[in-house]
């Protein structure tokens, strides 16, 4: 098991265990609601653009065919292409991409997401089909009710349509009401969507020259735990002057250190020494989750 206090892009409650056959837990991070919505919006834009492109191509070829005196069959062919294209884009855009090796649509790729079987087994194409056919009730049905409710002039029918909208919203909003952020489709397909950030290996903040003389006392270095240390690491990597000043002030206050050096120098020196102490502790099996952990 991965320790619950590993701080990363994913908090512990968003981690889901996936043990590889080699026995290592990859502990994948669930995609956040924002990432899911973002990916969906990108996909929706791509679908709409594809539809517009299809319509334009079809319209131009129709005009071209009739201008060149093409027969009715040409116009008909154009119509068939449009109908089939519309059908394929609407129903199979998601299925085709998620059934591929990346298990992600373009929108999901943009946010580093992929679809994974909850059992940890291989993602099957049936699962992909099941999770995406349910978009019928999650997306298209509310959409058609909504359009109907807005254009309907008869107030009784419009009211009925608004009722329909409310009813199907239960399905649409399903992912926001369970801890695994499962869509109705995910629930039926046995899948969930995880975020696997694609990042480059960054430099190590510690230069690894042996520490000759310590600037800090043992008590000062023992003030914090892993959580604070890793938060400090992020602060140092971001290097925002305001945050640095704030954090440096807090730490100086807490450990009672008023030595020389600007905020960044002070913080990186403190980070380096505190990490050395804590990593030595790790080798002896001591892992202090945070400052409250004694």
């Amino acid at each position: 098991m991965v320790e619950a206090h590993v701080l990363g892009p994913h908090a512990a409650r968003d981690r889901r265990s996936l043990v590889t056959p080699e026995g290592v837990d990859l502990s994948l991070g669930l995609a956040t609601g924002g990432q899911r919505v973002g990916a969906f919006v990108v996909d929706l834009l791509i679908m709409v653009l594809a539809l517009i492109a299809l319509t334009l191509i079809v319209a131009f070829s129709a005009v071209g065919f009739s201008a060149s005196g093409g027969g009715e069959w040409a116009l008909e062919f154009v119509g068939v292409v449009w109908l089939l294209g519309f059908f394929l884009i609407r129903n199979f855009y998601f299925i085709l991409f998620e059934a591929g090796t990346r298990a992600a649509t373009w929108g999901k790729r943009a946010f580093g997401l992929r679809v994974v079987a909850r059992s940890g087994e291989r993602l099957t194409s049936e699962s992909v089909v099941a999770r995406n056919l349910m978009r019928e009730v999650e997306l298209y049905l509310p959409l058609s009710y909504l359009i109907y409710a807005m254009v309907e002039t008869d107030s009784g029918d419009a009211l009925l349509a608004w009722g329909g909208v409310l009813w199907v919203l239960v399905f649409t909003l399903f992912p926001f009401f369970n801890k695994d952020r499962l869509r109705v489709g995910d629930l039926l397909a046995g899948t969930w969507v995880v975020n696997i950030p694609k990042k480059n290996l960054s430099y190590d903040l510690v230069t690894h020259a042996p520490i000759e003389t310590s600037q800090f006392s043992k008590e000062q270095l023992d003030a914090y735990g892993v959580y604070e240390l890793q938060t400090l690491e992020q602060v140092l990597r971001d290097a925002q002057p305001d945050t640095l000043r704030l954090v440096a002030g807090t730490i100086r206050e807490k450990i009672g250190y008023w030595g020389p050096g600007d905020d960044y120098e002070f913080l990186s020196a403190y980070y380096r020494e505190a990490r050395a102490v804590m990593e030595r502790g790790l080798l002896f099996g001591k892992r202090r989750a945070d400052k409250h952990d004694r």
């Binding site: 590889t20 109908l83 049936e126 019928e136």
Partner: protein, 331 residues
């Protein structure tokens, strides 16, 4: 040796392998696994296991968050390639037609019976109502769908709707495509609505039946029942069967959510979803056939007996394909 020296060595010794794994993954993700050279392909599992061991080690000894996060992402990406899909698309395709599809439909037999009965119920009820009182007809058939086929129409006009192709023979492929996409969309909706405990699915099935029954009552009234039977048979046996199956798939998921039995609700839903999804791929294929029959066959073939023969032979073929037990290739 200080811990920091150990940490430095840990990273220096392995960094090149991580970078190489990352480069291989980048190619594999952007293009495909096939774009990799033999050398890279062989190196992939080895590098993956190396990265996994680095990750285990880093989790235990390093507090460098960036390093641990980087390795977690790298290992997860590699994992999905090393243990990814093995079967080729062709093998999957074959397995679907050979086993998966008929198996799924067979396992849905109870739901299929319920679904068929609901549609028949709707048809019989509507037939009786309309036969007794023709004013019911408008309640079952919306004006735009009837397109002139109502009780104001003469027997001669109704007869023409059964035999004349629209616009004298052209436009058939457009018509066929339209029918296919429309019906497929309706049946996909019928399936998906099954999740709402099956209630909307049942309503859709009954509704579909009532339109059928109402038309029959109308044509019966003008002595055209036999001819309507032929007109419906040629595509309807396939189309209605497909809709019944879509309803059955919907009931399966609705049932699993309400009555999961001995499994947890989630497991039951997942199992039902898998079966239902296979059935639905099949339904779309059936509706494609029905669309072709409806668009071309029905317009080009006008002999009543031929229409009956084609329709019912197809139904027999579907039934034989789904329900006749067969020997399994895999024992």
């Amino acid at each position: 040796m200080s811990t920091q020296t150990i940490a430095r060595q840990f990273r220096e010794q392995r960094e090149n392998d991580w970078q190489r794994l990352e480069a291989i993954l980048r190619v594999a993700e952007r293009k495909s696994v096939r774009a990799l050279s033999d050398e890279d392909l062989l190196a992939l599992p080895v590098l993956y296991r190396g990265a996994l061991s680095s990750l285990s080690l880093a989790r235990e000894t390093s507090l460098d968050l960036e390093l641990v996060t980087y390795l977690e992402g790298l290992c997860a990406r590699a994992y999905f390639f090393v243990y990814g899909v093995r079967t080729t698309a062709g093998a999957k395709f074959l397995a679907f037609f050979r086993a998966d599809w008929p198996d799924a439909i067979r396992s849905l037999w109870r739901e299929t019976i319920v679904s068929a009965l609901l549609m028949i119920l709707g048809a019989v009820a509507a037939y009786l109502l309309v036969a007794n009182d023709p004013t019911w007809f408008d309640a079952f058939v919306p004006g735009e769908l009837g397109s002139g086929r109502d009780f104001q129409a003469s027997a001669e006009e109704l007869r023409r709707t059964l035999y004349d192709a629209p616009e004298g023979g052209t436009g058939l492929s457009f018509f066929a495509t339209f029918l296919f996409t429309h019906n497929a969309q309706v049946s996909l909706m019928c399936f998906a609505l099954g999740f709402a405990f099956g209630v909307p699915t049942a309503m859709l099935l009954v509704h579909n039946g009532t339109m059928l029954g109402a038309f029959f009552a109308l044509f019966q009234d003008r002595g055209l029942a036999f001819e309507l039977g032929g007109w419906l048979s040629i595509h309807g046996t396939t189309e209605l069967f497909a809709i019944v199956l879509a309803g059955a798939a919907g009931f399966r998921i609705g049932w699993a959510v309400v009555f999961p039995g001995e499994e947890t609700r989630l497991t039951a839903a997942t199992r039902a979803g898998r079966t239902a999804a296979i059935a639905m791929i099949g339904v779309v294929i059936m509706l494609m056939c029905a669309g072709l029959l409806e668009g071309y066959g029905r317009q080009l073939i006008t002999g009543d007996w031929t229409r009956y023969a084609i329709g019912w032979t197809l139904l027999l073929l579907w039934l034989a394909y789904f329900y006749i037990p067969r020997r399994r290739a895999d024992g």
